[in-house]
C-alpha cells in the first residue's frame, strides 16, 4: 500500500500506469473484441483512410484492417519485450550474483567476458546473433535478451559485492549454510528489488530494440504483425499514405513512454535511498521557526546557547532532539557535553551554526548568541562568513569529512581562501604552518598527500588544522577521538589542550567518555533524552555526581586496573526522543523514581555553575 501511494505521488508515473493499463486491457481483450482477421488480404480496399466504413483505423497496402493488426502487433511486441526482459534479468542477475559472491578469479573471468559482450555496439551484436540463427521473432527475442544481459550482470554484481562483504553472509556460513543456499536465501531477497527496478526501466528499451529488428525484416516474418514489421511495411508508403506509419509509430511511442515513466516511478518508490529522501537536498541553513519569544541576551560567555529547542519533523512524527538546552563557553575554556547516543549532544552542536540537515530539522525555540549576536536570526551570508572563521567544527570521522579526491594541502588552502583574500603562495605557506602546528612531521611533503594516504590519527590532525585555518574563537569538537586508537587519542587530546592554552580557544567537546572529559574539560554538561540533566565543574561532577543518571553512568564505565569483575549496568534502554515520557526521561530506568518524577516538567535547579534536574538528587548541590 505504502508502495502504491509513493508510486502515485509521482504524477508522471501515474499517467504512465494509466496509459499502460488501457493498452494492456485492449490487448488482453482481443479475443472478445469484434475485430477482423488481421491477416486477411483484400487488395481492393488498400490504403483506406482512418474512420472509413468497417475499418476504424483504415487499411494497409494489402487492404488488411489496421486496427486488428495494431492490437495483435502490440500484443506480440509487448510479449516479446517482457519475455526478453525476463530472460535477460534471470541470466544477467544469476551471472552477476555468482561473480559478486565468489569474487576473486571467478569474478574476474566472468566480468571480463561481460565486458567483451558490452564492447560490441548492441545493434551490431543483435544483427550478428540474428544473422547466425536466421531471421524470426524467436531469434530476435534471443538477440535482444543476450544484448541486455551485461546491463543486469553489472548492476547486480555491484550490489552483490557490497552485500557479500556484510557480516550476515559470514553469519549464514557459520550457521552451516552452503554456497547455494546462501545465494538463494540470503543474497537474492536483498537484490530482488534492484532486479525489479532494472527490469522496469529496460522493458521499454527492449520493445524498441525488438521493433528495430523487425523493422529491418529480421524479427517477425510476414504475414505476422508486430509493431516493428508494421512500420517496416509502411515505409514505402510513408509520403502517400502516412497513416500506415503514424498509427504503429504512435503505439510504440505510447508503450515505451508509459513503461519508462512507470519504471522511473517504480524505481523512485522502491529505492530505499530515494525513499528516505537522500536526493532531497538539505538547505544551506537550518530552518528556524521559533514559537514564543526569543530570550533576551544575558551576556554570558563567548558562545551562549539559550533555551535551544531543535526538532526533526518526519512525516507526522516529531523527534524532540534538543529540549531547552542552555550552555555557554568562555574564551580559553573547555566545555564538555557528555551523553549516550540519541541524547541530543551532536544536534545541539550542529544547531549552533545552522548545520542541522533541514528538512527535516527545525530550530523551534531559543537563541544561539555569539558575542551577543543571535545567530539564529542572522541571514545566511553572515552565518556563512562566521562558519569556520569564528566557529569551527571537528568531526568524528576525518575520512568522511575530507574530500577523497583533493590533496589535503589544497583543501586547507581552500578553507583559508574562502575567508581571506590571499595569494596561492601565501595560502600554501599558511597550510604548511597549520600542519606543523598540529605536529604533522614533514609538513612540506605531507600537504601533497591525499586523505587515504594518511593514518587515522594524521587525518584527524588535518581535520584539526582545517578547523584552525582561520583562527576561530570557538571550536566545536564532536567526538573527535572516538574513531581513533587509544595511543593516538592521547596525542590528539594533548594537542587540543595545548592549542586552547596557546590560542585562548573556547572548545565545546562532545564525547561519551568520562575519562576524556576528566582530562580535558573545565566544565561538563550531562545530556539525557535531549535535555541537560546536570552541569557543573568537571571535578564536582566526577567526584560528586548529583543526578542518578550521571552517577550510574559513571559506575558503568570500567576503569583500567580493576582486574576481572562484574560491571554495573543500567537496566532498560535510553528513551526515544520521538516518544519522551512526561516528567524525567530517566525515571523508567531510575531506582529512586517516585510518582512525582513521572509527571510535569522538572526544572534545572541550582546556581549558574552547578545545577541538576532531579527531585531526588544523590547529593545536595552547594
Amino acid at each position: 500500500m505504502m508502495f502504491l501511494r509513493l508510486l502515485f505521488r509521482n504524477r508522471l508515473a501515474a499517467m504512465g500506469a494509466i496509459v499502460l493499463a488501457i493498452i494492456l486491457i485492449l490487448v488482453l481483450a482481443i479475443p472478445i473484441l469484434p475485430l477482423q482477421d488481421p491477416d486477411v488480404i483484400k487488395t481492393s480496399d488498400r490504403f483506406l483512410k482512418p474512420f472509413s466504413d468497417g475499418h476504424l483505423l483504415g487499411t494497409d497496402h494489402l487492404g488488411r484492417d489496421l486496427l486488428a493488426r495494431l492490437l495483435h502487433g502490440t500484443r506480440l511486441s509487448l510479449a516479446v519485450g517482457i519475455f526478453a526482459a525476463l530472460i535477460a534479468a534471470t541470466i544477467g542477475s544469476a551471472v552477476g550474483i555468482v561473480a559478486g559472491y565468489f569474487g576473486g578469479r571467478i569474478d574476474n573471468v566472468i566480468m571480463r567476458g561481460i565486458d567483451m559482450l558490452m564492447a560490441f555496439p548492441y545493434i551490431l551484436l543483435a544483427l550478428a546473433i540474428v544473422a547466425a540463427l536466421g531471421p524470426g521473432l524467436m531469434n530476435a527475442l534471443i538477440a535482444v535478451a543476450a544484448v541486455n544481459i551485461p546491463f543486469f550482470a553489472r548492476n547486480i554484481r555491484g550490489i552483490t559485492v557490497g552485500l557479500a562483504g556484510r557480516e550476515f553472509i559470514d553469519a549464514a556460513r557459520l550457521s552451516g549454510m552452503g554456497h547455494g543456499r546462501i545465494i538463494l536465501t540470503e543474497l537474492l531477497p536483498n537484490v530482488l528489488s534492484t532486479i525489479v527496478i532494472a527490469m522496469s526501466t529496460t522493458v521499454g528499451w527492449m520493445i524498441l530494440e525488438t521493433a528495430g529488428l523487425s523493422f529491418l525484416g529480421l524479427g517477425s516474418q510476414p504475414p505476422q504483425a508486430d509493431l516493428g514489421s508494421m512500420l517496416g511495411e509502411a515505409r514505402s508508403a510513408l509520403i502517400t499514405n502516412p497513416h500506415t506509419s503514424i498509427i504503429p509509430g504512435i503505439m510504440i511511442f505510447l508503450i515505451v513512454m508509459s513503461i519508462n515513466l512507470l519504471g522511473d516511478g517504480v524505481r523512485d518508490a522502491l529505492d530505499p535511498r530515494l525513499r528516505s529522501g537522500a536526493l532531497s537536498r538539505p538547505r544551506a541553513k537550518t530552518i528556524v521557526d521559533r514559537k514564543g519569544e526569543v530570550p533576551a541576551d544575558d551576556g554570558k560567555g563567548l558562545l551562549n546557547l539559550q533555551s535551544l529547542d531543535t526538532q526533526f519533523h518526519v512525516s507526522n512524527r516529531v523527534y524532540r532532539a534538543v529540549n531547552d538546552v542552555s550552555l555557554f563557553v568562555n574564551r580559553g575554556e573547555c566545555l564538555g557535553i557528555i551523553g549516550e547516543s540519541g541524547s541530543g549532544k551532536s544536534v545541539t552542536a550542529l544547531s549552533v551554526m545552522g548545520l542541522v540537515a533541514s528538512p527535516p530539522g527545525v530550530v523551534t525555540g531559543g537563541a544561539v548568541r555569539y558575542e551577543g549576536e543571535d545567530l539564529l536570526a542572522a541571514p545566511y551570508e553572515s552565518l556563512r562568513e562566521k562558519r569556520g572563521n569564528k566557529v569551527a567544527y571537528i568531526f568524528q570521522d576525518p575520512l568522511s569529512t575530507l574530500h577523497p579526491l583533493y590533496r589535503v594541502g589544497d583543501q586547507l588552502m581552500e578553507a583559508i581562501q574562502v575567508h581571506h583574500k590571499v595569494t596561492d603562495a601565501e595560502a600554501k605557506q599558511r597550510a604548511i604552518e597549520l600542519l606543523m602546528s598540529v605536529r604533522i612531521p614533514n609538513a612540506e611533503s605531507r600537504i601533497r598527500n591525499y586523505p587515504h594516504e594518511m593514518s587515522g590519527g594524521m587525518r584527524q590532525r588535518v581535520g584539526i588544522a582545517m578547523a584552525l585555518a582561520n583562527d576561530p574563537d570557538v571550536i566545536i569538537a564532536d567526538e573527535p577521538t572516538t574513531a581513533l586508537d587509544v595511543t593516538v587519542q592521547a596525542q590528539i587530546l594533548a594537542l587540543l589542550d595545548d592549542l586552547r592554552r596557546e590560542r585562548g580557544l573556547a572548545i565545546v567537546f562532545i564525547t561519551h567518555d568520562f575519562g576524556v572529559v576528566a582530562q580535558l574539560c573545565d566544565r561538563v554538561a550531562v545530556m539525557y533524552g535531549g535535555r541537560i540533566v546536570e552541569e557543573g565543574t568537571t571535578t564536582d561532577i566526577l567526584d560528586h555526581p548529583a543526578h542518578p543518571y550521571t552517577k550510574r553512568l559513571m559506575d558503568c564505565v570500567p576503569e583500567l586496573g580493576g582486574g576481572k569483575r562484574a560491571l554495573a549496568a543500567i537496566p532498560g534502554l535510553p528513551p526515544m526522543v520521538s516518544d519522551l515520557p512526561p516528567g524525567c526521561a530517566f525515571a523508567p530506568r531510575c531506582d529512586k523514581a517516585t510518582e512525582a518524577c513521572r509527571k510535569g516538567e522538572i526544572a534545572l535547579s541550582g546556581s549558574e555553575t552547578r545545577a541538576v534536574r532531579c527531585i531526588h538528587p544523590e547529593e545536595e548541590i552547594a
Binding site: 578469479r105 574476474n108 571480463r112 556484510r166 557480516e167 550476515f168 559470514d170 553469519a171 549464514a172 556460513r173 557459520l174 550457521s175 552451516g176 549454510m177 552452503g178 540470503e186 531477497p189 605536529r439 604533522i440 593514518s455 587515522g456 594524521m458 586508537d485 587509544v486 595511543t487 593516538v488 587519542q489 592521547a490 596525542q491 587530546l493 594533548a494 589542550d497 561519551h512 567518555d513 568520562f514 575519562g515 576524556v516 576528566a518 582530562q519 580535558l520 566526577l542 550510574r552 553512568l553 558503568c556 564505565v557 570500567p558 576503569e559 583500567l560 586496573g561 580493576g562 582486574g563 576481572k564 569483575r565 562484574a566 560491571l567 554495573a568 549496568a569 543500567i570 534502554l573 535510553p574
Partner: protein
C-alpha cells in the same frame, strides 16, 4: 587436560597486486606466526590497535579465512570446516556490528532457525521450544521473533546476535568487539549477560576488543597484539598493572582515566610501521623509548618474565 583451543605458528599473509592469472606481487603479513592456548571455560582477551591483526586472527579461527601457515586445534582435533554443520557446532563468532550481521530481509525467527535447522536438523516444534529457551536466557521477549532487524536498538540486536551464537550450542565463541558499538549503559548489560551464559553453558570465550578496561574486566588472561604479532601474554590482573613490554605500558598509559592528568605518553609523532615494507627486528622499535641496536636487527621471541607472563622484548620493563 586438552585445551579448548590451541593455535600453533598460525600466520596469514595477504597477497597484494598481481593480475588475472599472475601470482601476487607482494604480501602483507597480517598475522605473523603466533601460538597460544585457551583452556576450557577460560576467557582469553585479545587487545591491540587497529591494523594489529585481531580480526584476521578471529576470522581464521572460525574458518572464514584460510591460514597461510600453522595449525588450529579445537578440543584436540585439527580445525576442519569441510563439513560446515560439524564445524559450526564447535565454534561460533559474534560480530561487532549487531545490525549488519543480521539479514535485513529476514525475520528474527528465520535468522534464529538457520543454525538449528542446518547444524542440528531440528524439526519445527523442536526448534520453537529451543528458540524460546534461548530467548529466555538472553532476556529477549518471544514477540520479537516476527520482527525484522531494523526494528531493534543496538543493544537488543547484539542480544539477538548472542542468541544466534548460542543456538549453535558451540563449545567456543569468538567475540569480536561485541560491545564497541553500544552505549556505555547498555554495554555492561551485554557483558554481564555474556558472563552468566558462560557459566550456564560452560563456554570458552575469545574476547577481542580495543578497549583495555573492558577486556581486563572480563578476561582471565590477555594477549596483546602489535603489528600482527603477540608482544605480551599474561594474567588480566597483572598485565596492565605490571606490563613487561613497553608497548603494553604505552597502551595502559594512553587509556584516559579519571583523575590522571592529561599528557601525551608518546611525544614522538610516530605511526605504525608500513605493512608492505615492514622494518627488520622488533616492529615497535621505532616508537620504543628503550630500543637499542639489537631491537632493530633481531625479532624478539616470547619469553617468560615471572609467573605466567610472557613478553617478546629484549629490554623488558621490570
Amino acid at each position: 587436560m586438552t585445551p579448548a583451543l590451541k593455535v600453533e605458528n598460525l600466520a596469514k599473509t595477504f597477497g597484494v597486486g598481481g593480475g588475472l592469472f599472475g601470482r601476487p606481487a607482494a604480501g602483507v603479513r597480517a598475522v605473523r606466526p603466533m601460538s597460544f592456548e585457551v583452556a576450557t571455560g577460560e576467557t582469553l582477551g585479545i587487545v591491540g590497535e587497529s591494523g594489529c591483526g585481531k580480526s584476521t586472527l578471529a576470522r581464521m579461527l572460525v574458518g572464514l579465512l584460510d591460514p597461510t601457515e600453522g595449525s588450529i586445534e579445537i578440543e584436540g582435533r585439527a580445525l576442519d570446516n569441510a563439513d560446515p554443520a560439524a564445524f559450526g557446532r564447535l565454534i561460533q563468532y559474534m560480530f561487532q556490528d549487531p545490525v549488519s550481521s543480521l539479514n535485513p530481509r529476514k525475520t528474527i525467527k528465520q535468522i534464529m532457525e538457520a543454525p538449528l535447522k542446518r547444524l542440528y536438523g531440528m524439526g519445527r516444534t523442536e526448534r520453537d521450544t529451543r528458540i524460546d529457551e534461548i530467548f529466555d536466557s538472553v532476556n529477549l521477549r518471544s514477540e520479537f521473533l516476527d520482527r525484522y532487524p531494523h526494528e531493534f536498538s543496538g543493544g537488543q540486536a547484539q542480544r539477538i546476535g548472542v542468541a544466534r551464537a548460542l543456538a549453535a550450542a558451540p563449545r567456543i565463541i569468538i567475540l569480536d568487539e561485541p560491545v564497541s558499538a553500544l552505549d556505555v549503559s547498555v554495554q555492561a548489560q551485554v557483558l554481564n549477560l555474556l558472563r552468566d551464559l558462560k557459566t550456564e553453558f560452560n563456554l570458552t570465550y575469545l574476547f577481542i576488543s580495543h578497549d583495555l578496561a573492558v577486556v581486563e574486566a572480563v578476561s582471565d588472561r590477555i594477549v596483546v597484539l602489535y603489528f600482527g604479532a603477540v608482544v605480551e601474554i599474561g594474567k588480566a590482573e597483572e598485565i596492565f598493572a605490571r606490563p613487561r613490554h613497553p608497548y603494553t605500558k604505552l597502551l595502559a598509559d594512553s587509556a584516559p582515566v579519571v583523575g590522571r592528568p592529561l599528557k601525551a605518553p608518546e611525544q614522538k609523532d610516530s605511526e605504525l610501521p608500513d605493512p608492505l615494507n615492514p622494518p627488520p627486528g622488533c616492529a615497535f622499535a621505532t616508537r620504543c623509548p628503550r630500543a637499542t641496536e639489537i631491537c632493530r636487527e633481531k625479532e624478539p621471541m616470547l619469553e617468560p618474565h615471572g609467573g605466567d607472563q610472557f613478553a617478546a622484548c629484549f629490554h623488558p620493563l621490570e
